[in-house]
Symmetry: C2
Subunit: 110 residues, 2 copies
């Protein structure tokens, strides 16, 4: 990997900005969190992410799929079943979420 970028100007190629734009918003992060433990059905995600609207969930899933971070499999059941899982690239977000979990645990004490 390249030198870890925290010094110098954050221009177009700034890796932290790229990641910030991907996980922008709590719901995107929480969708990825759900998928870290394995593939999940749409209905599971909707149930697990309490408070998320179907519209927001669908838009976040579509964005993550467009960015090749998750893949979608549709089963021809009645009604149709849709399953989502992290791609190899998406799984590389795990260290980010683990670091967020560790910080959040410390934050709880404040």
């Amino acid at each position: 990997m390249d030198r870890v970028d925290v010094d110098g100007p954050c221009d177009q190629g700034c890796p932290i900005k790229k990641t910030a734009l991907i996980i922008e918003g709590k719901w995107t992060t929480l969708v990825i969190r759900e998928l870290l433990s394995g593939k999940k059905r749409y209905s599971h995600l909707h149930r697990a992410l309490q408070g998320i609207s179907p519209k927001v969930l669908s838009s976040r899933l579509r964005m993550l799929e467009e960015k090749k971070l998750i893949s979608r499999t549709v089963f021809a059941t009645v009604p149709v079943t849709t399953e989502y899982q992290l791609t190899e690239l998406g799984l590389k977000l795990q260290p980010v979420l683990l670091a967020m979990a560790e910080f959040g645990s410390q934050w709880q004490q404040h």
Copy 2:
């Protein structure tokens, strides 16, 4: 620290959600990034974060100060000089940003 939280339900106490709510939005993340290399004046931050409006920068700095992640020092110069730096708690976000930088570097290849 507590067990790293990626399994199970993400309820009110979910550490990842807490962190996601703090670094929500690219500008908050990029302000923290600037401060990782040391204390900075307001004017430096405004120049370094190309494209940020004074209103957004001020609101992000105020939010980070309220959450005790940064501290603000005002010098009685003419005009007044304001300096910001990460607190001990704020510095604990470094691993999150380093993980984001590493992911972003890999993402660049896609």
